[in-house]
Symmetry: C2
Amino acid sequence: MRNTRDDVIVAALGVLDTHGLEFCSMRRFAVALDVQPSALYHHVPNKQTLLALMADEIVRGVGGDDPVSVCRALRNALLSIRDGADVVATASAFRLGASAVETYLAGMVGDEGARTLLLYTFGQAQSTQTQLQAHEIGALPAEVAASELTPEALEAELTTSFDRGIAIILAGLATQHEADGTDEREKR
Amino acid sequence: MRNTRDDVIVAALGVLDTHGLEFCSMRRFAVALDVQPSALYHHVPNKQTLLALMADEIVRGVGGDDPVSVCRALRNALLSIRDGADVVATASAFRLGASAVETYLAGMVGDEGARTLLLYTFGQAQSTQTQLQAHEIGALPAEVAASELTPEALEAELTTSFDRGIAIILAGLATQHEADGTDEREKR
DNA sequence: ACCTGAACACCGTTCAAGT
DNA sequence: ACCTGAACACCGTTCAAGT
């Protein structure tokens, strides 16, 4: 027995984290496992499926006691690995990978609220990752060119911005609850 | 004089709309223009730049009189072409391509409000496009497998969901305005 | 069950050369 | 200025064959 399916996923996540999504080819995964490219197809039907499995792994175990901490945990998971937000978004985790998180959130803030929070969280994480990467390269977007902003300061700013966005959405959801006077957990 | 840069962009958008993002190769663009692949590099430095120009074109002219209509117009623009949401999102239009729309929105609901609305709109459009595509193929996500949902009904449902999400965010923004008692246009 | 080796039909990009 | 032709270093995927 040589490699298992999980070995492939772990190796692929290693390539993703150290080299980025653009270097995530089946052939690169193969050299990471010291194996021929064709060997991967014994564990996975195609590249798309492998990317979806990677997305599932990235998002696995995300949870929390309240909507804010769930969204923060999800964002942290997406940011914990290079190009994580892109991978999870592209793998259409909107419906599949994160759907465990979605039903979890839905129990707290309802279907519509869960969807709104999730879509915002994904978009904000994707934007955050893009901006942090651009900052590292030195491809600054002119508005922050002169300002000597450290990476840490930028990251902190984007995280604060995220929290404010979540607060806005939750405030909006609260007004809806006032409108119909029900708690989500009471509906059916 | 044979082809101009705009010819290349138009041809590329044609390939995108009729074949989808996965068939958007420089070589396909070249056959669409009846030209050798290398000829494209006279008009554009690389594929990434061409995709960014396509994204700018997709989002060009988006505007409106109030936040709701701006967001709707943006979503419609993203949905008006196959894989449009993916192309614009990947081209990091979060900061560049849509930034005209962002400053426009910021004048109405403030920086944080604009960002929240935009990130939600992008995410929702991307999700909508993914689901509509899956529905066309017949790759139904099991929950709507039995339900005989027409594509039009699904699209209408997703649009209604979008409107509700926007309403939630705007309601949240309204509570913030009440809190500090200022209108955005009065700040500074 | 897991892998190799070879092959097929593709990629993006460069560069000398043509008009 | 705009394009061709040829080349380079890659892709994802298939399939017979090995152990």
